[in-house]
Amino acid sequence: MESKPGLLHVEDLTVAYHTGAGWLEAVRDFTLTIAPGQTYGLVGESGSGKSTIALTIMRYLRNGRSRQGAVWFNGRNLLTLPPHDMAHIWGKEISFVPQDPLSALNPSLRIGEQIAEVLRQHLHLDKKSAAARAIALLDMVRIPDPPRVAASYPHQLSGGMQQRVMIAMALSTEPPLLILDEPTTNLDVTTQAAVLDLLRELIAARQTAVLYVTHNLGVVAQVCDRVAVLYAGELVEDAPTHALYRQPLHPYTQGLLDSVPQLGQHKAQIQLAAIPGQIPALGQRPTGCVFAPRCPLAVEICHAERPFLDTAAAENGRFVRCHRWPEIAAGEGGVKKEGRRERKREEGRGKRRREEGGERRDCCRWRI
């Protein structure tokens, strides 16, 4: 077998859940490569299989089974690793930050003790130095008055604080890979922004690779180098963040971007373009492209034949699973829609703003 690229390489992963109706494939032929220090966004609607992928990588999937493919991490296939070895990877080499920090924190242990537990387990620190280190970690995630917070119980902290504690815990062992499962979903917008800023700073300083699972395109634009867009368990587009936002090649990605309200827009100026229809049930996937029934650009071949993941631009690694992407890229044949044109106009405005305020402002447009 050839050497596996990157830190994490998910290869042709298919994950199925067992239900009353038999095995249903929640994720199909999923491929992803994360380089060391790279931040990857995994975007999709609810039920698109993004959490399933995150949990499969962690090998912590309940009642689901990976039926095909491999998850290569540092040259080892995590899916075939004995459970004992997996326990050494958990928390030490791959850390996981769950969506709801309050339920992930032990209600009957003080914050300091909980962080110290992880340190003692993985770094084999003694009780005293683990406690001191826990306070230093709380300081690192910019929690005010760390000694006092260390002596508090989880329910005494705000949601933002709790999530900072989770991040402190996840980074305490300096893992090469961090998986975040919608870590800011339950937070209000300002807290979310603060946590994201912190996160970006921490992972940049440590060169930690990140897989950021979210349904929020704005968050992805803010944090991630690359984005993988998931639809009904299939990878539909995989591209560098700025390229994807500038020119989405898959109609689903286009639809997603069009359905995001943008800052500085009046509601009279644009109508949010919702994607008609809904995500297909796992048991009733169309024979052709999974997105074809909802796709405004679908033609005959789309319904008949399943597209493969095509390389759209080799130099920066753009992949798209669509029959018509070359036309979309060229902007031919009526593939532009009303909403798209509207968005283009916005982008022109964004360009002007970018010239004024630098690269980051452009991304911030997408923040909800």
Binding site: G91, L109, P144, R148
Partner: protein, 294 residues
């Protein structure tokens, strides 16, 4: 948000601190009474020899068979022993024996309960069905059976307490473990790579503690009762030890002439058992009141 106020007092009193539990216990008359009784008997157990006016087995033949008086507060028995001194000195005997027995029963019950609840499956079935079969027998019958095998000795009584109460403690612990082990924080601990030992004793055990404290104090009161009963039946602690149950047994033959020799040790048993029971009930209320573990 309690986090950004550095003006707040730095001393946070956590809900489960020992101090606040005591305060809560004394907030209710019944549990305050129970706790006072218990602490009083503990005090007796500790400094009994200082308080008792006579030696444990000191026989004053001239004073034998005396009713309660200024010299012998609780009277004397047929052998001329001071009942008051024996009751006081008996506190240490019965409290250490039942206390130590309960402690061991709690330790083994916690271990079995944690393992059984966390692993589940066949192991759980085996452990719990075995415990069920132990529980199917009346406690006293089981105790007599075991003492018949082991022979009457202090260590045998201890083993009896452990065997009789381990299944009950294990059941309580297991039931809490079952509800806690599926919680996200246990999964989070696993996914952080914590070892089994840490997950069982550091993550899960703290959630078990409230229920365990209540159960342990209840078991303790029953253990006192059991030790006294076994003493009364003559199969546990042997004479001349100042076991209250044993004293009741000895005084039984002379109850018509020397009722005080029976009443006082019997009363001591009743009072300490009621006291510990009230305290256990108070503990239960403290935790059910929602001060801990929201």
């Amino acid at each position: 948000m309690t986090s950004n106020g550095s003006s707040l007092p730095t001393q946070l009193s956590p809900p489960s601190s020992r101090r606040s539990i005591l305060r809560e216990l004394f907030a209710r008359p019944a549990s305050a009474l129970g706790t006072t009784i218990f602490l009083l008997f503990v005090l007796l157990a500790i400094c009994g020899p200082l308080l008792a006016p006579y030696e444990l087995n000191q026989q004053i033949y001239s004073d034998a068979r005396q009713a309660p008086s200024a010299t012998h507060w609780f009277g004397t028995d047929n052998l001329g022993r001071d009942v008051f001194s024996r009751v006081i000195l008996g506190a240490r005997d019965i409290l250490t024996l039942s206390g130590l027995g309960t402690l061991l029963a709690v330790l083994s019950g916690v271990t079995f309960g944690l393992i059984s609840g966390y692993y589940g499956g066949l192991l759980d079935e085996l452990i719990m069905r075995f415990f069920d079969s132990l529980l199917a027998m009346p406690a006293l019958l089981l105790a007599l059976l075991l003492l018949g095998i082991l022979g009457p000795a202090v260590s045998s009584v201890m083993i009896v307490i452990v065997v009789v109460y381990t299944p009950i403690v294990a059941r309580v612990v297991r039931s809490v473990v079952l509800s806690v082990k599926t919680k996200a924080f246990v999964e989070a601990a696993r996914i952080q790579g914590e070892s089994l030992w840490r997950i069982l004793f550091r993550e899960i055990l703290p959630s078990v503690l409230p229920a365990l404290a209540v159960e342990a104090s209840l078991r303790f009161s029953y253990a006192i009762f059991l030790v006294a009963s076994l003493g009364f039946l003559g199969v546990g602690v042997q004479p001349p030890s100042p076991n209250w149950g044993l004293m009741v047994n000895e005084a039984r033959q002379h109850v018509s002439q020397l009722p005080w020799a029976l009443y006082f040790p019997a009363g001591a048993i009743a009072i300490v058992v009621i006291g510990v029971n009230l305290m256990a009930d108070g503990l239960k209320r403290v935790w059910q009141g929602g001060t801990v573990g929201k």
